[in-house]
């Protein structure tokens, strides 16, 4: 067991972890951050996507012990001061159905908009290409981002 410190959604938290513990499990089971979901345990579905030091990663592929001192953002953090414009846009477009993929998709889209405030359709698709959604056919997700971008 090693004691590590993680800055989770602007809150500094320490936690004891084994060397083989997965970041996703530590977030969910030890820190109570439930928005990242376990969908495939191998970095393919994107349901566990979070921002690690500002970059999106699949938290099921990261060992927690590697993240000592790092900054972690999940969608709980995006809505600390109320829902963001991006989150509002997803609501308005009924973008999600079962909602299980939503936390990961939103993190990927938020990262895109941080680096590229005016992405085109292809860039939006590229950004969420690592997130699987089985319900929507993606169209409503793309539209929500496009609509938000068009208003800027």
């Amino acid at each position: 067991m090693k004691k590590i410190t993680l800055k989770v959604n602007n809150e500094s938290r320490f936690v004891h972890v084994e060397p083989n513990e997965i970041l996703l499990d530590v977030l969910r089971d030890k820190l109570g951050i439930k928005s990242p979901k376990s969908g495939c345990e191998r970095g393919d579905c994107g349901a566990c996507t979070i921002l690690l030091n500002g970059e999106s990663v699949k938290s099921c592929l990261v060992f927690a012990i590697e993240c000592d001192g790092m900054d972690i953002r999940t969608i709980e953090g995006l809505s600390e001061k109320g829902l963001s414009e991006l989150q509002e846009s997803f609501i308005k477009h009924n973008s999600f159905q079962c909602g299980f993929c939503a936390p990961g998709v939103i993190i990927s889209a938020a990262e895109l908009l941080e680096h590229n405030p005016k992405p085109n359709r292809e860039e939006i698709k590229e950004a969420i290409a690592g997130n699987l959604c089985r319900c929507t056919g993606y169209e409503s997700i793309i539209e929500a981002v496009e609509d938000l971008v068009s208003k800027k």
Partner: protein, 769 residues
């Protein structure tokens, strides 16, 4: 006004609670499975004593430790909770382990001692057919005289087509959390489409009455049929472990495990013979449908039946014989999946029409149009039900125009003439889908509506929210009927102690059935409120004549239509009713009238109505690599008077893309031993964002209310799945272009890159000969 999904704010903020997110005490144990490594084997002996000593392991159970029945088959009792003397598929559960950690469970698994004697296994559909391995007797539906008509018809064709299965790939894998209560009580938080059946199976397995078991389902992270019966399995396992350890136990399958051991869409083999005239009118069709059931019955007979009832899709065929045969194989028991046999059934007739068009050198859309069910005649299905309120011609006329079909057909021809190694294909296909459970008694639903004295409404109904927007629609119906703001209505988690003995949320019927039940409950409450309103209004304004029949509920107020200036707020009237000692809680119950089906005769009125849709898809293939793209899809779908356009369009888009996966990329590969080889998303390919149509025009049919349903709406969950058949037919068209539409392409379903390149090569070789 656009109404948003009732959970949308929770979805986008990460606050939506799925079962794996429920906070439970540190006392929780995780449940794990020890499963069969063989597709078919005898269990000679086993010894758990060493394994049970493993640190961190609280229990290891075999079938001998089950307190009740060792059964979890939903209809036929042919699925043991834990294998006894033999195993019948790879992944069948033999032992259950409750452990504090996965490591402890893995450690214990290594110490389990068990001996098998491997037996011959049937691992493919064709082997099953050759060995006469059938689950039950065949079923038949027939109209006219098929044999005679086939002899008399001018042209005939015959062949067979193999249709692959499909993994549900709900994002949330199978999961259930069971928390023991006092005595024999057990509360199960289950990811199930059928809480009442989950309750029944837990009760049977624990050997207790149903009233001891409470099943609660807030939301599912996707289901698509995969949790109609098979959500019961993890629930039964979790309940057994929780009952044994008297601690909360969660069983959550990991993705690979889920893909390996749960049932999928049934693979089919269809053998067909068809007769047609020179105009392309289909005169007779003889079909044999073989469904790969897997090792147990599950829902196979109902799936097969629905496949048979959709074998003619949207076409009038005067002479048709449809034989259905359920084939038993040593694979996980296949189960419900959006469309429930409908998609497989339709592939047969759509393939026949595609071939007829090529033989006659006509556009396939023309042949399809010619054979559509008529409005005034030519409207009797092979099972004897009349096709009423036919929307096919409305759809065809509007979609041919909006998709610019004729012009694009010419463009595709021009493109194909100019390009040797890239080909385009275009196809338009219809969908006619019967709405109702074909097992008539399931067409029932209940609701419980509670009014609180502050005017807020708590709505319970028997349906499950799996993303389809059912709760949103129920919330809308209650708000509309009460004439109040939608945020005054909250939909409760589905719970067997609130609304008992419910049917599964399946067959696209969730809104039709539960919506009516909600309305009936609301009507009862309104009648009670109206009685109070008459009294209160009369107190406000003496001398006027207020009667209950005139009372209107609108804009959060209650008033008489005769004196609409005099209003009482909804909350005030509810509070007044409480003071008047009126019950503010009511149940509603609905059963669909008139549906029946005689299985021995193959005749009846199994459907309350039909939902229709039509799609035009254009694809482009690379002849040398088989790579393909959907360039454009145009869809016009009939949702009656849509209850929620945005939600319904989401259903149509999502269903089409899911169907696209089934017809193009989702191929399951097994080795000869019956091992599924691609059991994770890195090898099993569901559509990603780059796989959707580049241009995607989705519209709902306007001005076509459904006369007999809740607010004249139509079921929309399953029907649009089959619109993706247009993509498969477009791919056949593109491959066929390699042989200049003179040769028949040999294209399996799913038409993966691999199959496309092989089919193209075959045609190119034939051309060179």
């Amino acid at each position: 006004m656009k109404i948003f999904h009732e959970s949308a704010a929770y979805h986008v903020s990460g606050k939506a609670v799925y079962i794996d997110d429920i906070q439970v005490s540190d006392q929780i144990l995780n449940g794990y499975l020890y499963t069969s490594p063989y597709a078919h084997a005898k269990i000679l002996k086993f010894d758990l004593s060493e394994a049970r000593k493993t640190n961190g392991v609280s229990a290891i159970l075999s079938y001998r430790d089950l307190p009740g029945e060792n059964q979890m088959g939903p209809i036929v009792h042919d699925e043991p909770v834990l294998a006894e003397k033999s195993v019948e598929f790879i992944g069948q559960a033999i032992f259950l382990i409750a452990a504090q950690t996965e490591e402890a469970a893995l450690e214990a698994k290594k110490k389990i001692s068990i001996e098998f004697e491997e037996l011959p296994a049937v691992t493919t559909l064709k082997q099953g057919i050759e060995q006469n391995s059938f689950l039950q007797a065949q079923r038949k539906i027939e109209i006219g005289n098929t044999e005679k008509a086939l002899k008399e018809t001018k042209n005939t064709l015959s062949g067979e087509i193999e249709i692959g299965g499909q993994e549900h790939w709900y994002l949330e894998t199978q999961v259930c959390l069971c928390v023991p209560g006092e005595g024999m009580e057990m509360k199960a938080y289950a990811s199930t489409q059928n809480p009442a059946e989950t309750q029944a199976i837990i009760a049977e397995v624990l050997g207790v009455s149903k009233h001891q078991i409470e099943v609660e389902t807030r939301r599912l992270g996707g289901a698509f049929g995969g949790k109609e019966t098979q959500g019961n399995h993890v629930a039964a396992w979790a309940a057994v472990l929780a009952n044994h350890t008297k601690r909360p136990v969660k069983v959550r399958l990991q993705r690979d495990e889920d893909q390996k051991i749960t049932g999928k869409r049934h693979p089919f083999l269809i053998k067909y013979t068809a007769g047609y005239n020179d105009e392309g009118l289909i005169e007779a069709v003889d079909l044999e449908l073989f469904a790969n059931a897997g090792y147990a019955t599950d829902l196979t007979m109902a799936v097969l039946e629905r496949a048979m009832m959709h074998a003619e899709n949207a076409y009038f065929i005067p002479n048709m014989r449809i034989i259905g045969k359920p084939v038993k194989t040593n694979l996980p028991s296949n189960t419900a999946f959006r469309g429930f046999g409908g998609p497989q059934g339709m592939i047969g007739i759509e393939t026949i029409i595609d071939i007829v068009a090529r033989k006659l050198q006509k556009d396939s859309a023309e042949i399809r149009f010619k054979n559509l069910y008529g409005i005034h005649d030519k409207n009797i299905t092979p099972y004897g039900q009349k096709v009423e309120n036919n929307r096919l011609f409305m759809l065809y006329e509007q979609l041919v125009k909006s998709s610019e079909y004729q012009m694009r057909r010419k463009d595709v021809e021009r493109y194909n003439a100019q390009n040797e190694f890239s080909k385009r294909g275009l196809a338009m296909t219809p969908v006619k889908f019967g709405i109702s459970f074909t097992t008539a008694f399931l067409n029932q639903a209940g609701a419980l509506v509670n009014l609180y004295t502050d005017g807020s409404v708590l709505l319970n109904h028997g349906g499950v929210e799996m993303g389809q927007g059912l709760h949103t629609k129920m919330q809308q119906i209650a708000a509309l009927e009460f004439g109040i703001d939608i945020d005054l209505v909250k939909v409760n988690a589905t719970n067997t102690s609130k609304v008992p003995n419910t049917s599964p949320t399946a067959a696209s019927s969730g809104t039709d059935l539960n919506g009516m039940a909600v309305k009936i409950a609301v009507d009862k409450l309104k009648a009670r409120l109206a009685k109070v309103a008459v009294k209160k209004l009369a107190e406000l304004q003496q001398g006027l004549n207020f009667v209950e029949e005139d009372i209107v509920f609108e804009k959060n107020a209650v008033f008489s239509s005769k004196y609409s200036d005099l209003k009482i707020g909804f909350q005030q009237i509810v509070n007044a009713a409480w003071l008047e000692r009126e019950s503010l809680s009511a149940t509603g119950f609905y059963s669909t009238p008139g549906v029946h089906f005689d299985r021995t005769e193959g005749k009846g009125q199994p459907f309350f109505y039909f939902a229709f849709g039509m799609a035009v898809t254009e694809v482009e293939i690379d002849v040398l690599t088989g790579q393909h793209h959907v360039l454009r899809a145009d869809i016009l779908h009939d949702a009656g008077e849509s209850l929620n356009r945005s939600i319904d369009i989401g259903q149509v888009e999502g269903a089409y893309v899911q169907g696209l996966g089934w017809v193009t990329s989702e191929e399951m590969k097994y080795d000869t031993k019956g091992n599924l080889l691609n059991h994770s998303p890195d090898t099993y390919k569901i559509p990603g964002v780059r796989d959707i149509p580049q241009i995607f025009n989705v519209k709902l049919l306007e001005g076509a209310p459904n006369p007999t349903t809740i607010r004249k709406s139509k079921a929309v969950g399953e029907p649009p799945f089959m619109l993706a058949i247009s993509a498969y037919m477009a791919l056949r068209d593109a491959v066929s272009a390699v042989g200049n539409h003179k040769l028949e392409p040999d294209l399996q379903l799913p038409a993966t890159n691999e199959w496309i390149v092989l089919a193209c090569r075959k045609l190119r070789n034939m051309l060179m000969c």
